[in-house]
Symmetry: C2
Subunit: 205 residues, 2 copies
DNA sequence: CAAACATACTAAACAGTGTTCACAAAATAC
DNA sequence: GTATTTTGTGAACACTGTTTAGTATGTTTG
């Protein structure tokens, strides 16, 4: 059965090839401009071939969406070492903002776009999102136990903090800050981080 | 020159006809499914005709985007009467959330989508957004003067508050809450408003 | 070895999209 | 009544995601 094994490996290789090409094109040109024909051209196969490996375009972008979460969780990983929960909360926030501002396309797919939504729904649990948000949830929990932030429901507070940082990043990546405060980009970025600091300090009990 | 006047009126009427059709279709079926051919069918003209009245699809959706802001500002209007700035701030937040949750498609166009962005840019000031955000800015200013919220830069605090409510609405309309907290929709909505309350109470000096 | 089968691939088509352009028809001006 | 301007359109261009029928290749079986 060695032949069958090799064949399966080959099949996975071609799947990987498609994903790698799609990821590269996506990060270079964005979602809209990364068409099936585009990917097909890049890997020198016919467009129809891609449908032998993926049910639809969004299935590919769901995988890229998960790669994004792998990246984010990687950046979150070391933060677990920080003992003080409030300090950890601050670091989580900063890391989240940095991730969003540095990887706007990944961020888009992960938290803004409708693209991978049908795929997310059919897995009935958004595992990627869940994993990332657990870091926040646990930290909030500790903050509450140690009474360093105002009392309230764990989930509700996590939701609030997530919404806050998401709001900052998504208004930034969708250029709504640019349109209203016509200050330089660096100044806006700086204010984004100041907002986080102001917000978290306010939460302090 | 009465004829010329009538002609101009007619022209505006047909422009209005297109916008009304586009708005209706947009609110019924969303942005993606509202195509030029769709609108053309609806108003019983050829698709090419639409391009006599609008440079591109996004110009139409920029106008719908502005209609959305007209609606939002209308809901903001009465809030100016509230004397206490903090109470006013709370009401602004609640109204913003309600607007977003009740008009997800308008909200999308106004604060999330890339569609009207080129149009926004070419007006070099995002007047619609500016007007709406001024309500917030002025209220924050008053809150600071009366020392009812923690001290900080006016613009930065406005940015923080806007980001917060935007984060709540946009995670909601893009179904990221649904994917992570698999509670009922009503429960999620309730928590959205609780988050606002928690956040604003935290800001209190 | 040849016939039967399975796998991998693709050209071509379908049904859409935004947009442009050459041309026709209608309304106005002279 | 002819000339000119305004108004509208069919057809095409260059795309999009996706499906299908058919081919070419490799593997298995009689």
């Amino acid at each position: 059965m060695a032949i069958k094994d090799r064949k399966e490996r080959d099949k996975l290789d071609r799947r990987k090839l498609i994903i790698e090409s799609a990821t590269r094109l996506f990060l270079e040109q964005g979602y809209e401009k990364t068409s099936i024909r585009n990917i097909a051209d890049d890997i020198e196969y016919s467009p129809a071939t891609i449908y032998l490996y993926f049910k639809e375009k969004d299935e590919i972008f769901f995988i890229i969406h998960e790669q994004g979460f792998a990246l984010l969780n990687q950046e979150f990983a070391n933060i677990g070492d920080i003992k003080d929960p409030f300090e950890r909360l601050q670091e989580l926030g900063k890391t989240y903002l940095n991730f969003g501002l540095r990887n706007p396309d990944y961020y888009d797919l992960m938290f803004i776009m409708r693209a991978p939504l049908s795929e997310i729904a059919c897995h009935d649990k958004w595992e990627a999102g869940d994993a990332a948000l657990n870091h926040l949830y646990n930290t909030v929990d500790e903050c509450l136990s140690q009474k360093v932030i105002h009392i309230g429901d764990k989930l509700m507070i996590s939701m609030a903090i997530w919404s806050f940082v998401h709001g900052l990043v998504s208004l930034y990546v969708r250029e709504r800050f640019k349109a209203v405060a016509n200050s330089a980009d660096d100044a806006t970025k700086k204010m984004v981080f100041e907002s986080l600091q102001y917000f978290l300090n306010s939460l302090r009990a």
